[in-house]
Symmetry: C2
Subunit: 900 residues, 2 copies
């Protein structure tokens, strides 16, 4: 059988994408559905392959088939290519199997020549339009097909505008355009040494050549290399009738959604213009009418439109974004695609479509993106015009001014007055002011000020700097590393921003944590919360993850009863990480902690101070257990090095110098301790289980606080499930010693209280490569659970300090060394490999070991997908991130298939 090179749109269908390309297959599909689209035909991708293999020669018979298809098209349209009375005009477009937007060639208005332009002028009753189309065609053909270069045409156009003293193209008259047509033809001839072709078939043949050849331009090759698209699949060519919405009062053009993309309601949504071209609707030169008005103005057309919407939505089972043109009373769909929508709308639409029986729950869950969930949760700036970045203030549209750009460390939006120290932030917040904390960077000592602020902006630090991590944890908007990103400076008194703007204490500013932009002034915000539809979608998501994912679920990192409540309310199925060190930082406890540090080499005295902390901790844990409502709570023993609980060394020295304090003063003594505890690389220092083994009372006291709290809450009738986690474990014996101490405390507490806890576990963090490499040994030693601290594991595996990596991560993304910040999305090839090894080796010894992650990656959809593929049991993320993670968990299950 001879190869068929050309398919009319009636002959194709969606499934023939490889042969007809994406665009051709879709046009065929719509044609098959009876959707009125401008007729046309497709030259196959195989033709292109043959063409390229055969040194850019059309295969024999192709042009014959093309001519036949063209004759059929002319019959369909009742017009002829090049007809001086009523010419058929066509577009010639590329369309590969995989979309390569903007990479290859397109020719519009093909079929115009010196005679046809007159016919077009007559039929359209718009001479200016006809000549404008002609001069555009000459330019496009000259540039795209013949390589004349756009520049020469543009220069001629500019010269004409200058001559006529006008600024815009639209201000040129018909005569001007006629002159331009001649000038363009002259440019064409001067450059190529031949006349602009008047024969439409010659135009067509040359255009097909051009589209096929454009497959191998350097630009296209580079793009395919980058995107991993094969080079041997070729492109199809689509030849389609041009239709115009500006051919008189019975013509129109519009853009519409089958449902409301802002809120998801099931009403048609869109705009149209009578006597206009597509770009006019979008350009905003004329104000378009709402689509509802079409019902009145063109009732028949509206009926067709409405039916098509119904049909397309049924067919694609999703909201459609369509472009249409009415040409002299005939309705054409130009394009349909899945409609972009807001987070709220995404949930509403998915929910409704499921109710309407169009999609099942799995599909509904897949239809909402993690970003949709995120955006439907956090406050946002209420833009009047998001593109122009204008807002309404006091009824007036106001242009906003950008003060700084940084990294989107914690989402949401926040407005407040700038404060430059944590203490001032707290002070002013207590007076009822809304605060933006502006600081070069933050440290654990700033926590009180951070918690009191609406938003935080720092000059230094990356996506997982202290400021970023804490902000996400407490749900505060944060822009980090703005100094590194946009070169702004933050001192103790001012933010010297971009565009010469400066902010001083008490001045209003607004942060947009999504785009990582800071604005001067107080911009209006709008609040968000999970809609009922979103909640339902997330319930479906949980069902899918738990059932098909065999228990794969989401926990939250929560350090306080409040955070625990938020987490459980947001659907976390447990607390994957409770950090206890924040409890040591609080104002009434820090002095006790500092006494303990000073007495650290005196076991008796230090024991007293450690146990002074017991009542505080027990109370904290009681609150957490109550709010956890019986879900498991993983509590990590104290993790950071001791010097984090002492003042900043340089500030202390400054005080000592300034006040000329004597040797005997407390502060000088404190400095001496600080120097002793100072570490070159605290991340790799005396912390976690190391510290706990050095000061074993810390294990004893914390275990007792946890177990007494659990016992008390269980006595109240609330189910409790404490899991004690040992941090920074590298050696099996570290775990064993700590575990044995904890089990001894447990036996003591049970003896004292005569209460046996129903559920209890001891496990370990996996945050060092050594622990990951020896997880089988840890499993043999009896860990009940393991939680990968992927932040630290990333730091140690890649050798990136998250506090310092901001200096080179942007460079690394620019150089293409990695695509994404490895502190945001897990580095699958490296850190991920280690994580997967760890999980599988632990489970090979004991399949009942619960294995999860509790780093920042726990809230990142790509990382969640990786965790599911790596056979982990859960991810744990910040409380406000839980809904996002629940959706991502279900989508991971859907995308990768059920677990055995």
């Amino acid at each position: 059988m001879a190869t068929k090179y050309v398919y009319s749109f009636e002959e194709g269908k969606k499934e023939m994408k490889n042969l007809l390309g994406g665009k051709g297959a879709n046009l065929s599909e719509m044609t098959g559905l009876g959707i009125p689209i401008p007729p046309g035909f497709t030259i196959t991708t195989e033709t292109c392959i043959a063409y390229l293999e055969n040194k850019n020669t059309f295969p024999k018979g192709m042009m014959d088939e093309t001519k036949k298809a063209l004759v059929y098209l002319e019959k369909q349209m009742g017009k002829k290519l090049g007809d001086p009375k009523d010419p058929l005009l066509v577009s010639v477009r590329s369309g590969a199997r995989i979309s390569m937007p903007g990479m290859m060639d397109t020719v519009l208005n093909l079929g115009l020549n010196d005679k046809a332009v007159k016919g077009l002028a007559k039929v359209s009753e718009d001479e200016r339009f006809a000549y404008d189309s002609y001069r555009r065609f000459i330019m496009m053909f000259g540039d795209v097909v013949k390589g004349v270069g756009k520049k020469k045409f543009d220069e001629a156009l500019d010269k004409m505008k200058e001559k006529k003293g006008v600024k815009e193209d639209v201000d040129l008259t018909t005569d001007d355009l006629k002159t331009l047509v001649n000038e363009f033809k002259k440019i064409y001839k001067d450059t190529l040494g031949e006349d602009f072709p008047q024969d439409p078939m010659e135009q067509l043949e040359a255009s097909i050549h051009a589209v096929f050849s454009s497959w191998n331009t350097q630009r296209a090759v580079n793009y395919r290399n980058h995107e991993g698209i094969p080079h041997d699949i070729g492109t199809a060519v689509n030849i389609q009738t041009m239709v115009y919405g500006n051919l008189g009062e019975t013509s129109a053009t519009g853009v519409a959604f089958t449902r409301d993309p802002a809120n998801g309601k099931d009403v048609r949504y869109g705009e149209y213009l009578i006597q206009a071209q597509g770009e006019d609707v979008v350009a905003g030169v004329r104000t378009p009418n709402p689509i509802s008005k079409l019902k009145d103005e063109m009732p028949e057309m509206y009926k067709i439109f409405d039916e098509i919407c119904e049909k397309l939505e049924k067919h694609y089972a999703d909201i459609q974004d369509i472009e249409f043109t009415i040409q002299q009373g005939v309705f054409y769909i130009l394009q349909t695609r899945t409609g972009k929508r807001t987070g709220i709308a995404a949930a509403k639409i998915a929910f409704d479509l499921e109710k309407e029986g169009m999609i099942d729950k799995r599909t509904a869950v897949s239809r909402v993106t993690p970003r949709d969930v995120e955006n439907s949760l956090f406050p946002q700036i209420e833009w009047k015009n998001p593109k122009e970045k204008t807002v309404m203030i006091d009824g007036k549209e106001v242009q906003t001014k950008i003060l700084a750009k940084g990294l989107p460390a914690s989402p949401g939006a926040a407005a407040g007055i700038a404060m430059f120290t944590a203490d001032r932030a707290k002070e002013e917040a207590e007076k009822g002011n809304k605060i933006i904390l502006v600081s070069e960077e933050t440290t654990p000592e700033d926590f009180h000020g951070m918690a009191a602020s609406e938003g935080i902006i720092t000059a230094r630090g990356g996506m997982t700097s202290h400021a970023a991590v804490v902000s996400r944890q407490i749900g505060t908007t944060c822009i980090a590393g703005a100094g590194d990103v946009s070169g702004i400076h933050i001192t103790k008194t001012a933010l010297e921003g971009m565009n010469g703007l400066t902010i001083k204490e008490g001045e209003w500013m607004t942060l947009d944590g999504f785009d990582a932009l800071a604005y001067i002034g107080k911009l209006p915000l709008k609040k968000s919360k999970l809609s009922e539809e979103m909640k339902t979608i997330l319930k479906w998501a949980d069902e899918i993850a738990l059932k098909e994912g065999k228990g794969f679920h989401v926990r939250a990192n929560a350090d306080t009863p409040d955070q625990t409540k938020v987490a459980i309310d947001y659907g976390a199925l447990g607390i994957g990480l409770t950090r206890t060190e924040h409890m040591f930082m609080e104002k009434d406890r820090l002095p006790i902690v500092q006494k303990m540090i000073l007495a650290r080499d005196n076991p008796e005295e230090r024991r007293k101070h450690v146990f002074d902390l017991l009542p505080f901790q027990r109370e904290d844990f009681e609150g957490i257990f109550r709010e956890a409502k019986g879900f498991p709570v993983i509590i990590r023993l104290i993790d950071p090095p001791l010097h984090e609980f002492l003042p900043n060394e340089i500030e202390l020295r400054e005080e000592i110098w300034k006040e000329k304090l004597p040797k005997e003063s407390e502060k000088v003594k404190l400095l001496a301790e600080l120097i002793k505890l100072r570490e070159q690389n605290p991340m790799l220092g005396y912390r976690g289980v190391r510290l706990c083994l050095g000061i074993p009372e810390l294990i004893e006291m914390q275990a007792r606080a946890i177990l007494e709290a659990a016992t008390n809450v269980q006595k109240e009738g609330v189910s409790v499930y404490p899991e004690i986690m040992i941090p920074v474990v590298a050696f099996v014996k570290e775990f064993e010693i700590a575990r044995d101490m904890i089990m001894k405390v447990k036996a003591d507490v049970e003896k004292e209280t005569k209460v046996i806890l129903e559920k209890f576990k001891v496990g370990t963090m996996i945050e060092l490569p050594r622990a990951a490499l020896l997880s089988d040994e840890l499993a043999k030693a009896g860990i009940s659970f393991a939680s990968a601290g992927t932040n630290d594991l990333t730091q140690t595996s890649i050798g990136f300090s998250r506090d310092d990596a901001g200096k080179f991560i942007p460079l690394y993304i620019e150089l293409g060394i990695f695509d994404e910040d490895p502190f945001v999305t897990i580095d699958q090839a490296g850190v991920g490999k280690l994580l997967a090894m760890s999980c599988s080796s632990a489970k090979s010894v004991n399949p009942d070991i619960e294995f999860g992650i509790c780093g920042e990656h726990g809230g990142d959809p790509k990382s969640i997908d990786f965790c599911y593929r790596s056979n982990l049991d859960y991810v744990s993320c910040s409380p406000l991130r839980v809904p996002v993670a629940r959706l991502a968990a279900a989508q991971a299950v859907i995308n990768n298939g059920s677990r055995k």
Copy 2:
């Protein structure tokens, strides 16, 4: 066949160790050789097993066999057990297959009773000796066999001494001892309710019971658990004639070596005493005679002694350490064992034995320990009495005083005057003084002072702290972390040491880097160098390693031409690591480097400063290539973060505060830069290839300096082999970008000079877990070699900062979390696993990739053994460590077998 329970020494041999225990087999072996040892017999380990299985009952027939053996023994000796005239006395000793020193029971002088003691008195002509032996036997039998407890006997003895007004046992008279015998018998009876047994057979039977039972004491069980000795192998019992060297003028006792253990010379070496017991020779109460005098005093005895020495040495093919006793003209060997010897002697003996045809070269190489090589290389304190720690000063024996104890960071001994800053150290050294640098810790800025000093002592930092690493590198004695170890304090003006001793600037002190002890004052030192014999042994070692180890060899880490010369002279087969950063630190270069840092965001200006360094670097490299004599030289591109090249922040602040410098001053500006560059965890920061990609001129300039230098030296007719190494690589693309830049420079230099380098490679450090995990990918990207930086790999894999881990490593060793500092000996289970994975995955892609290590572990014998087992090609260590590593490399090959 009935089981045989008892073997006379004539019946056994070395190979029957499992049955006769180690001691029994050796006594049999010597008997078989015709060596005169006190006769006796062995009850087998199998008997013990049967005894224990049968509820502590002797197997039937065992006592009959014992009695028969005893009768034979009595015949041999011409004496009878319990004979009132001339009694046979025996010892009863345990002896398992594996030695368990001090763990099980021993009974001496068995056979004495109220009558026999009189016979002994007569025969020995020493009544006091007889009664002293008797009272000792009663006590030992009562305590060891019957469990009376030593305490009661000791109290009676003390009471007697008090009563007699004497201090020492030896001051008691014969009558006193007779009284004590009676008192001891009374204690025995009072405690046990039975008389002390007068029947020697009863004594013997009870003693055998005691030895067998002692196998299962808690102490012995614990010991076996700890040492991993099986519990079911049982112990043998050896019953051997007692001989005495104090039975008159024809008796004597002595200790001797078959060769000189101090220098290895082939002469008998030892001491003896006439009319004395073994302990008298060692105790130092009487001054013993040199063994040569025996030739005159007892020529016949000497002849026997000399022949036995000859025979034993031939048999064991090694220097023997023997104990002998002459009892009334009969010569007995009591014990022979391999003799301990100094490093120099070890080499001399191994060399001589090979020449004498007693051992082959493999054995000779095995006979020298790495420690022997080490000790034969470095200066040492010249002790008069090493035990008492006295030295000779001005002809007088002087007691030394310990000032501090720390970690043995770099071996050797050094005496000098104390200086407390690097600058002062340098200053005084330039005046010709010998300096000990005393500092809380050291930083790269102190290098000039360190290099100018004989020795260094620090209060903080571990075995791989800056001070330690640099000291080993430059061959300076160093004691690190003395503050942490012994609680001493080092300020800017004084060392407040142990024992209330203080050292101030200019005062003499002496460091012993082997024992990590610092002494007050100037102690005499002696120099060491490799003996000719040692050189030969090392040559043999190289032959074995290269041939059987298929090229396994030792390189050195050398940063300067001088170090390179030392390394090559010491037998390094290449330079495994040349660090370039020290070149940036030198006084004439640092200002340029600092200018470069200040201009780092201004590519043009920074380029100028970077290239200002080119001539310096090129000259350095030329010197190194010349000294490397054609061996490969791996040069690492600049590695540390930029702030290491700037002053200390706190010191700078102090200056600014003290001098009240204005904002515009250079120092304030420098501080601002310092703050910008400051890192939380510099180890994981902006360094290595990251820095090089951020300031690409650094790659360009260094590559050019290396390649131009290599070209110049090649032109001189010296063969060169540069290998450029990229540090801190985590991602394949980091390597690729840097490699491509280097190859471009290479092409440029070749074009300019028209010289093609004969040999050249580009490779990568493996110092981050990610690089180790993805070594196959690095291999695919084309690395020609890989060198594991095991210091950094240890830091990142275990999460230990080597600068900070000193705080908890001693605790960890104490808690048994690990046996050895993982910065000294590679952590095989963790870091080693990763290293082995890395090597095998790189070689799986390209077996020609040269894979070595260049961390501190490169000089550690256990780590070298691991590297050989892990299929690495070489180890690289500090120049002075090369001889040790060469020996260790050969021993690794010998111990683990040849490579396929």
